[in-house]
């Protein structure tokens, strides 16, 4: 590869420079590759494991199977416990996309109020909201459960989604508030002079400028909702309504036959949507950071 590079380089004077840089560059790349190998080892092991027989998976450190099989993947088409795998994926997607929409709308609206509007008790309310970050999830678990049960919402997706539409995720509100505070005040003032109300300023001025914050929130919300286990575990009572994270747990129990192969194959398939979502949006993330240099 380096030979090719020297061939292309036209100026003979740069040859010396490359020779000087070569050992350093080589060490740099080898070092990176070594670290990458360590980091990627578990991932490669899982990929290799998904082609092993169930009894060969656990306790074996071999990266690749001696004789690969695809049964783990083909068996997924039979479904788990009389439920087709696609059901879990549809349910999870529904929840994840529903959460993203909810967070984007509700948290940005709330953040706009905190960042751009002066009203009585703003600082107190903001502090209280930040305070909710300190509440451990387990403290809220049972009271929330009782609340939703009294509203007859158990075994629906409402308990898992409702909060997301009411801006209860203080972290994302905080993130957006911080972002909006950094937007130059002159922009809203100019808009106001042109006759814009709050809704218009929010929609046409602030939201487009907040794109990096929105996309960060969207990515995290999607991943959190996709991976959420405790919420769906507590609130959903029918396997037909289960999400992927619950479905993955159906393969193995200490008391009986364990299907590790099916579990690993499905966990890889379950990674794909998250990966796709991240890849699709990370471009905007970097893009957004580059263009928001406007504030100077």
């Amino acid at each position: 590869m380096s030979a090719q590079a020297t061939d292309i380089t036209p100026a003979p004077s740069s040859k010396g420079a490359i020779r000087r840089r070569l050992p350093g560059s080589l060490a740099w790349h080898l070092g990176s590759l070594a670290i990458l190998a360590v980091i990627l080892y578990p991932v490669v092991w899982v990929v290799g494991g998904s082609f092993k027989k169930s009894e060969d998976i656990v306790g074996s450190l071999d990266l690749f199977p001696a004789d690969p099989i695809v049964d783990n993947y083909t068996s997924l088409t039979d479904g788990i416990a009389d439920i087709s795998i696609s059901t879990f994926f549809v349910n999870s997607l529904l929840l994840a996309v529903g959460s993203v929409v909810g967070i984007l709308i509700s948290c940005s609206l709330t953040a706009y109020a905190f960042a751009k509007i002066r009203f009585a008790g703003r600082n107190l309310l903001f502090t209280l909201m930040i305070g909710t970050l300190l509440l451990p999830y387990h403290v809220l678990l049972i009271p929330q459960y009782v609340l939703f049960r009294n509203m007859d919402m158990i075994n629906t997706y409402t308990p898992l989604l409702l909060g997301k539409y009411l801006a209860t995720e203080a972290f994302f509100v905080f993130l957006m508030v911080q972002f909006m505070r950094n937007l130059p005040k002159e922009l809203d003032e100019a808009a106001r002079l042109d006759g814009c109300g709050h809704m218009r300023i929010y929609w046409s001025i602030v939201l487009p400028l907040c794109r990096p914050a929105l996309i960060t929130s969207a990515i995290f919300t999607f991943i959190n909702a996709w991976n959420d286990f405790m919420g769906p575990l507590i609130y959903l009572n029918e396997p037909g309504k289960y999400t992927v994270s619950l479905g993955l747990k159906m393969f193995v129990d200490q008391e009986g036959l364990a299907n590790y192969g099916g579990m690993i194959a499905m966990s890889l398939v379950a990674l794909l949507p998250v990966l796709a979502f991240f890849l699709a949006f990370q471009r905007y993330l970097i893009d957004g950071m580059a263009t928001s240099g406007l504030k100077g």
Partner: protein
């Protein structure tokens, strides 16, 4: 061998299908019978009950089939199921029970009976027995009393199991160890040594952390792990038990705890770290599916050459006190423990069927389940079965703490004295609640 097992599984499915077909006719008869005797139902519309249990997909498929049978026999009752692995099941159950919304009927174990009775979660089923919706006759070996606490019937056993020593047969043969009914702890220690010396493997995977085994050891000596209120042994007893364990781990009689942790969730026995492991006899299925060797069941070592201290344990079906449909729940439990077709579908998945009718209905054909049946029969023949001692409120927490602290001791994170103290502190808190 693997192929043989696969074939077995296929034929298993076929017989299940046949059984389902045959039972259609039976269910038809049953339906007319209930229609004649009926009139007590609400009349309008069907009743839906929620049934939760722990397990994985294999159990789920079996249970779904038994529910199909039930719904055919009782067309006015619909059953909705919900299942998780053991740990997650109890997390969910706890939240739901605290939130006043537990499932109508659920799988239960002995360690949880007093705990949820104290929290007023469990329904006393004896009224349903009096009303004739639930028959408590025909249980094997006195199991009908198993779920009874202070005169209340809080759980109905579905399948019995008992502690056993699961052994790697070729390893035991190579070591020349022959475990027989009535063998003593000295014989056991001798076997451990021979396995270590002749096969290069540890003898046992970690018997010191198994609460139910220590319970048997204590019972052999006239004590028990639990009394009605608390622990039935002293710090000195446990120090003796764990000192022996620590020596065993250091000298390689028991498997290296670090390696045992590393191969989890696989068991040390199927990972070929140890030659044997103490566990419930119906878990043997697990080893065969995980490991490559041939596994067998050996009796529990004794102190005096006679008493093993064993009793039949059992999973149970319990009902929730908040259920709106106690009668339907009772009918459901009755069907699940007495119907012979259910036994043919479930096999030994939750232990050897608890009622004689179900026990007779299913004859195992594969070596693993045959071995389980033979083992339980040998216990009855040897006359070693005794009655179970009570499990107080908090027993489940003690069991988990016992396992965890024993493991920490084996890993060298705690000294024996420290481990014993820690266990007594934790269990006192748990049992006070």
């Amino acid at each position: 061998m693997q192929q043989g097992r696969d074939a077995e599984r296929v034929t298993g499915r076929r017989t299940v299908l046949k059984a389902a077909g045959a039972s259609l006719a039976v269910a038809g008869l049953g339906a007319t019978a209930t229609a004649c005797g009926g009139g007590s139902g609400s009349g309008d519309g069907t009743v839906t009950i929620r049934y939760s249990w722990w397990g994985a997909e294999d159990r789920a498929e079996r249970i779904n089939k038994t529910i199909d049978l039930f719904e055919k026999k009782y067309p006015k009752i619909k059953v909705k199921t919900d299942f998780q692995p053991y740990g997650d099941f109890w997390k969910k159950f706890n939240t739901q029970a605290s939130g006043g919304n537990p499932p109508d009927v659920f799988q239960n174990a002995i360690g949880f009976l007093r705990k949820y009775d104290a929290k007023n979660v469990l329904l006393d089923l004896s009224e349903q027995v009096k009303a004739g919706n639930l028959r408590m006759e025909g249980f094997r070996a006195g199991l009908e009393k198993f779920g009874e606490i202070d005169g209340k019937l809080l759980g109905v056993p579905v399948g019995s199991n008992s502690m056993a020593l699961v052994i790697d047969k070729p390893v035991y043969t190579r070591a020349g160890a022959k475990p027989e009914m009535g063998w003593t702890w000295d014989d056991f220690d001798e076997a451990m040594k021979n396995i270590r010396d002749r096969t290069g493997r540890a003898g046992d995977s970690g018997m010191y952390g198994v609460m139910y085994l220590y319970d048997l050891y204590l019972r052999q000596n006239g004590k028990a792990f639990f009394t009605k209120e608390g622990l039935g042994f002293t710090e000195a007893d446990l120090t003796q038990w764990w000192t022996k364990a620590e020596k065993g781990v250091k000298s390689g009689l028991f498997a290296n705890a670090k390696k045992v942790v590393q191969v989890k969730p696989k068991s040390a026995l199927s990972a070929e770290l140890a030659g044997s492991e103490f566990t419930w006899d119906n878990f043997t299925v697990r080893y065969t599916s995980e490991g490559k060797s041939e596994y067998g069941l050996a009796p529990i070592p004794t102190t005096d050459g006679k008493r093993t201290g064993q009793y039949l344990g059992s999973l149970m079906l319990s009902a929730s006190r908040r259920t709106q449909h106690p009668k339907e729940v009772a009918q459901f439990i009755d069907f699940m423990v007495h119907d012979p077709e259910v036994a043919k579908i479930m096999g030994y998945d939750r232990g050897v069927p608890a009622t004689q009718v179900q026990y007779d209905a299913y004859t195992p054909t594969d070596p693993v389940n045959k071995a389980i049946a033979a083992y339980e029969e040998s216990l009855v023949e040897a006359g070693v079965l005794e009655t179970i001692t009570p499990h107080p409120n908090g027993a489940d927490v003690c069991e988990a703490a016992f396992l965890r602290i024993a493991e920490e001791m084996a890993l060298g994170k705690r000294s024996v004295d420290d481990a014993v103290k820690q266990f007594f502190t934790e269990s006192k808190t748990a049992l006070a609640g």
